[in-house]
Symmetry: C2
Subunit: 131 residues, 2 copies
């Protein structure tokens, strides 16, 4: 079965999304991430989307969902590696990825997570209204 690997790096999880997402795969990923966070006590989740040329509302919602679920379990999520064209499209589509923090690269994302300042972001719950 196709499955997106969730890698453990110290207290962080690293996920690279390379394949076309569909419902079952997204559900499986959410399950794996939450499972790993509770199992390994991870405090941060890095999601690399550098190979995605399109981020549609489905992917956007999935990212926001993972961020929201992780947050409930005590882990911050940072989406890294977004292509410039994707950023343009996201804004043009009116999707602002609420509750999801971003960074340019995995390294920058790790800095965000390790040097983390608690954020008062309460937008993680309303991502559905954006899609």
């Amino acid at each position: 079965m196709e499955r997106i690997p969730v890698l453990r790096m110290g207290s962080l999880l690293l996920i690279t999304i390379q394949v076309d997402m569909h419902d079952r795969l997204a559900m499986q990923l959410q399950e794996d991430v939450t499972q790993r966070i509770s199992e390994w006590g991870s405090t941060g989740v890095l999601i690399d989307i550098s190979s995605l040329e399109i981020v549609d509302s489905f992917i956007g919602r999935m990212l926001a969902n993972i961020a929201a679920m992780s947050k409930v379990l005590g882990a911050e999520t940072v989406v890294v590696g977004m292509q410039p064209a994707v950023a343009i499209t996201l804004v043009e589509l009116g999707m602002s990825l609420p509750g999801v923090r971003t960074a340019l690269s995995v390294e920058a994302g790790m800095e965000v997570l390790y040097g983390e300042i608690p954020v008062g972001d309460s937008g993680a719950g309303d991502e559905r209204s954006q899609a």
Copy 2:
């Protein structure tokens, strides 16, 4: 175009293989890895194959090729996350992944690379005879 992302983590490169490899993708990956090593001066390459359920001679050769190319450029390669069933099949097929070092997880692979002892492994060049 489909492309396997090569992530930079300090002096290491991290690649997770999730999709079915084919010729063009393998060539692109070899090109990307060698390009990144020379560009970023990376000293190690971690290749995660935890989502692969089958490692055939094509994948085996690709891994050995990347390891050999990286070595020429001064970077060690560690393949991580191999599933137990894959190890069984590899040995049954008579493929020993010459020149490729392995570790159970990304973390173990990083330990291998950071605590690295120069190895006198000269087997990296003869992987073709195995496939």
